[in-house]
Symmetry: C2
Subunit: 292 residues, 2 copies
């Protein structure tokens, strides 16, 4: 999707700028940590989360890209979670998007520290963003830290690693999805509203994000079962091999397809209610109507 790529490129450029504060001059002895951070930050990915931050801000009146640094902060959090998820004590993945994962490239110690440093730098970037008021920065940090913590992403990872191979009921699966992937996606849309100072639009942003987040996860689960490995660009059937709980495993494949369909319609219909929402509607369809 051309417009998504164009916007992702803006994020990539700003991420590079934010990482360029660490140089051979001021950080010679610890530059390897910054290199590991940059390596994983630039390893690709569609930049869906930061693009959502910027798009919600734009829809609600930010014409100056005030949300750019908040968007980058959220991508740093996402990247930190991928680095730590890939570690041997977690999912033990040697590859991430076809490249060696951070710990394969830099060692486990440096992957641990690079993840820690990205998590920390995300908050630094928001606190330092003087395009925004102090109140906005505090609200953004609160929103982000709640999405990351025990009640959000890290809580979801806890459920995930501690329940492999155990029977998942429907309630626990939905709870895990809403924490592990849903929380950051919702946070992205809410952060956009905060950057535009449209606190009144947060409930609608959350409604959209909840549908998008769950649909995105279900579509991922379905593709892992039905997709062609070459087309998907990553191994299929990996969930079943790892004995992981998924939406199709708990509810059945047909029910999963139906639910993905419903949620996609819901997300698109909420998006279409927003002003000037052409790109957001297109993005939503692009993310959810993948081949399966």
């Amino acid at each position: 999707m051309v417009e998504l790529d164009r916007r992702a490129e803006l994020i990539n450029r700003r991420l590079e700028e934010l990482m360029s504060v660490y140089t051979e001059e001021n950080a010679a002895h610890q530059l390897i940590c910054a290199e590991a951070m940059k390596y994983s930050l630039s390893a690709g990915g569609k930049r869906v989360r930061p693009v959502l931050v910027m798009e919600f801000a734009r829809i609600w009146g930010d014409s100056e890209g005030k949300a750019a640094d908040s968007a980058c902060a959220l991508e740093m959090i996402h990247t930190f979670s991928l680095i730590h998820d890939d570690l041997p004590c977690m999912d033990d993945d040697d590859l991430r998007r076809g490249k060696p994962s951070c710990h394969k490239k830099f060692g486990e110690d440096m992957a641990l520290l690079a993840g820690d440093a990205l998590e920390n730098y995300a908050f630094d970037v928001i606190a330092s963003d003087d395009k925004l008021s102090f109140e906005q920065r505090v609200k953004l940090i609160k929103c982000l830290s709640e999405a990351v913590g025990v009640m959000g992403m890290i809580g979801g990872q806890t459920v995930d690693v501690r329940n492999v191979g155990k029977p998942f009921d429907a309630e626990l699966l939905l709870k895990m999805y809403s924490m592990k992937t849903g929380a950051l996606i919702k946070c992205a849309c809410v952060m956009g509203c905060i950057c535009a100072e449209r606190y009144d639009m947060i409930p609608a942003a959350e409604e959209y994000a909840e549908a998008l987040g769950l649909a995105f996860q279900i579509v991922d689960d379905i593709l892992d079962i039905t997709a062609d490995e070459k087309k998907l660009g990553k191994p299929v059937h990996s969930d079943a091999e790892l004995n992981k709980a998924t939406y199709p495993a708990v509810f059945g494949l047909e029910a999963a397809k139906l639910r993905a369909e419903e949620l996609t319609e819901k997300a698109v219909s909420v998006a279409e209610g927003f002003p000037d929402s052409g790109f957001l509607s297109e993005l939503t369809k692009y993310l959810l109507k993948r081949d399966y």
Copy 2:
């Protein structure tokens, strides 16, 4: 030191309150992560950093304990760094203050996540602290994240893990100390000034903290060589066994003792210049004039 213990107890109580937000009701499935966080947070330690935050705030006019949550946030950061430092891919320590380290008790995956969650919760706690203005909260988060990141604590850990067994020159050793342990101690004293809105006192706080931080580290190094194991409560000669660079190893034991003496005098003399500084002066002497 009775007064230090009394103040540490106040910190302990507030830490417990802050951790009590995670309950069987709202976090049943991920409670193990919160348990691991609590385990390491309550594993003891003198609480020097949070006590410094509160004391600098008190000296400069905070009579209501406005700095308590910032103090707890800093202790969460310190604890997260200890949990990750103990992991097998870092120092691989099975014990921390005589108890099993977090990963020995809860598994490596949970220690990783508990550390991540404490790092994140620290920023949440400051952002949520409505006893402070938005401006104060942003300044505190900026101060803390700079102390934690690539130019601070994590940078120091990077130098530490990547230079084991290599020759350290004096400059690199001092740089590592100022990042690895100095940054958080300096941050503690500066955070206290921010909580009291006495930004004019930050330079003096930094002057005190730099002397205290380096002296504290040198005294630790000396004790590792000269102390009686029973008296110290932890194994001695561990630095030499690990082939770690230390102040005495680089500068010699006598020079180390002399420098510790000078820095202690410096820190005490700066402290004595502050109003109502009886406790701070006593604390400084207590921390630095340990037996060796």
